[in-house]
């Protein structure tokens, strides 16, 4: 796979609102044609960062480069970026087609060409035939599509999406996620999505920057982010992660020997254990789906530890168990697919829990 050229570059971007330090040294590159997400809790600076690309927010120091050019020299209305706003910002006094064609006003197109381009844009978002409707008479999902068509009609180099799906209900949101992914592949331009929904970011993105308190905590593809979060904070924010205290016994270039509470002694591969000192008190994390309850006659592929079922949450396709491993104070959560031959266990049942050192991640 060839590395695509850089479309957006942040160079030590700092932003202050008075005394409030909103962006604290952002360094990142976003590649051309990439579906990139800025993920984080509210107030982490993700929307501010997006707005510095659009040009709605200035920066206090550092630089934002768009396609190699310093963005500070380009006013917002001249940037090769277009935005889909959280509120959609559909112009309520205009029709759907006037909204979608708004950006073409200055292109000096004749009526026929204008109509054709607007028609194409509407077709792209599945709103053919809606052109004459009044904008305020649309449903949430339709407004979303109008906002997309309006932003894409200028063929921007970068499409900025500020929590575009947060106002939609769950079904609609999932449908729009798939449509956005398809749309991005179809038009091939860089999409930058701001979201606080980790699942949405994992589903849609090529790469994700997880932000906390004005900093990027980790920038990786979804799988790496999920399987090898670099900090406890990231691990906690993305999906569910169990944490157990652990002591580092020896640290070598090819891995780490640790003593984990309840699980015992095991070896963690170097790429899942950042280097550090021996004898250090640390934390080990693992995902619920990496643990398995063993039924009668089953043997563990790697290791097993006994425990007691403390809580059972039945989800239909899955059952979540909170299991108190012997010798550990807090229960760990594990998830099991409900397949034939695996009855749902009762609270209080003694169980054997299989786990593998491969699934453990060490946090310093």
């Amino acid at each position: 796979m060839t590395v695509k050229p850089t479309m957006i570059e942040f160079r030590d971007v700092q932003k202050y609102y008075g005394d409030y330090h909103a962006l604290r040294g952002i360094n990142a590159s976003i590649r051309a044609g990439e579906f990139f997400s800025l993920l984080g809790p509210s107030g982490c600076g993700k929307t501010t960062l997006l707005r510095t690309i659009a040009g709605f927010e200035g920066i206090s120091s550092g630089a934002v480069l768009i396609d190699g050019k310093d963005a500070a020299q380009i006013p917002a209305n001249k940037r090769p970026t277009n935005m889909v706003f959280q509120s959609y910002a559909i112009f309520p006094h205009l029709t759907v087609e006037e909204n979608v064609g708004f950006g073409l006003r200055r292109a000096g197109l004749d009526k026929a060409e204008m109509g054709r381009r607007v028609g194409d844009a509407l077709a792209m978002v599945g709103l053919t035939g809606f052109g004459k409707r009044a904008a305020h008479a649309l449903s949430g999902g339709q407004r979303q599509r109008v906002a997309l068509a309006r932003a894409l009609i200028l063929k921007p180099k970068v499409l900025l999406l500020d929590e575009p799906l947060s106002a939609l209900d769950k079904k609609m949101r999932e449908q729009m996620q798939m449509e956005l992914i398809k749309l991005q592949r179809q038009v091939g331009i860089t999409f930058i999505l701001v979201t606080h929904d980790q699942e949405e970011a994992l589903v849609m993105s090529d790469r994700i920057a997880v932000m906390f308190e004005g900093r990027i905590a980790q920038l990786d593809d979804p799988e790496t982010l999920y399987r090898r979060p670099k900090t406890r904070q990231v691990a906690d924010f993305i999906g569910t992660m169990n944490f157990l205290p652990a002591t580092v016994l020896s640290d070598t270039p090819d891995g780490c020997e640790v003593e984990v509470a309840g699980l015992g002694r095991c070896r963690i591969a170097a790429d899942q254990a950042p280097p550090g000192g021996n004898g250090e008190e640390t934390t080990v994390g693992f995902r619920p789906e990496t643990l398995t309850i063993l039924y009668d006659g089953q043997a563990a592929a790697a290791r097993e530890t006994p425990g007691t079922v403390e809580e059972v949450v039945y989800y239909g396709d899955m059952t979540y168990y909170d299991v108190k491993l012997d010798g550990v104070r807090a229960a760990v959560r594990l998830s099991m697919r409900n397949v034939p031959g695996r009855p749902v266990l009762d609270i209080g049942t003694r169980a054997r829990v299989a786990w593998s050192p491969d699934a453990l991640v060490l946090f310093r």
């Binding site: 659009a54 709605f56 277009n82």
Partner: protein, 268 residues
């Protein structure tokens, strides 16, 4: 029967409010000079008398000039103030807006007396202009109240969206902001026009020799034979006021319908 008493109360209230206004057209079309029942017969002669009354025409002309100018000036000033107060944050904003809105609750007689003393001190001759000055002062807060709610209901990202799509700040104002607050501007114009048109105290103090319509009407009450004529004039004014306020309300509702916002009760 709680509902029953409420109905009686509401009815009495409405009679108290509107009976005097209903009396206006009754006596305006009555044959007799004396304002008393029983009515003596139908006549349009009092309306005819209005046509042949040059001082009245002067007063109407003065009032119209004052009201139109006041409406335009105070609405223009209010557009700037409302935009600034809803869009920008600056030190001392709350205090400043409070001071601008103060004339809303200040007794008009105080405004009139203080303006008159200042004008006399500055040796400025009383005229239509000085009345306009006073009226702009009392109308601007009303206009700001109307326009603030119009500007407030504007989503900030609408402006950003237009700017993002290549428009300049000025064309964004013209293409997006202005059309969306236009219903507010129209009702502001109409309401300040109405306030100015029937304002008496300030006009009485500051008009000098250029009487406005309310001042002229008041002066005519000294002559009993002029009273039915005033009734006729009053009838016309009531009809015009209802018409103007209906137009204002129409534009307010159309604005709501256009932006799809919920009706939270009008200014009126």
């Amino acid at each position: 029967m709680r509902g029953g008493w409420f109905k009686v109360y509401a009815l009495v209230y409405l009679v108290f409010l509107y009976a005097p206004i209903i009396l206006l057209p009754m006596f305006a079309f009555n044959d007799a000079t004396v304002i008393a029942f029983p009515l003596s017969g139908f006549s349009t002669k009092w309306f005819a008398a209005l046509v042949d009354d040059p001082p009245l025409h002067d007063a109407v002309r003065n009032s119209l000039i004052i009201a139109v100018t006041t409406a335009i000036l105070s609405t223009t000033l209010a557009v700037f103030a409302a935009r600034a107060s809803t869009r920008y944050r600056f030190p001392g904003k709350a205090g400043l807006m409070g001071l601008i809105m103060l004339p809303l609750v200040l007794p008009e007689i105080i405004v009139a007396v203080s303006l008159l003393s200042i004008l006399l001190m500055a040796r400025i001759e009383l005229s239509i202009l000085t009345v306009i000055l006073g009226h702009v002062l009392i109308c601007t807060p009303f206009c700001i109240a109307i326009l603030s709610s119009a500007f407030q209901s504007l989503d900030r990202s609408l402006e950003e969206a237009a700017y993002d799509l290549g428009e300049t700040p000025f064309s964004t104002f013209r293409l997006i902001i202005l059309p969306l607050v236009m219903p507010g501007i129209i009702s502001s114009l109409l309401i300040s026009f109405t306030i100015s048109l029937d304002e008496f105290i300030i006009a009485f103090f500051l008009a000098g020799t250029e009487a406005t319509l309310p001042v002229y009407i008041f002066s005519q009450f000294r002559f009993p034979q002029a009273v039915p004529v005033i009734m006729a004039l009053g009838t016309i004014l009531v009809c015009l006021s209802i018409l103007l306020l209906s137009i204002a309300e129409f534009f307010r509702r159309r604005g709501l319908a256009r932006s799809g916002a919920k009706d939270t009760g009008g200014f009126l």
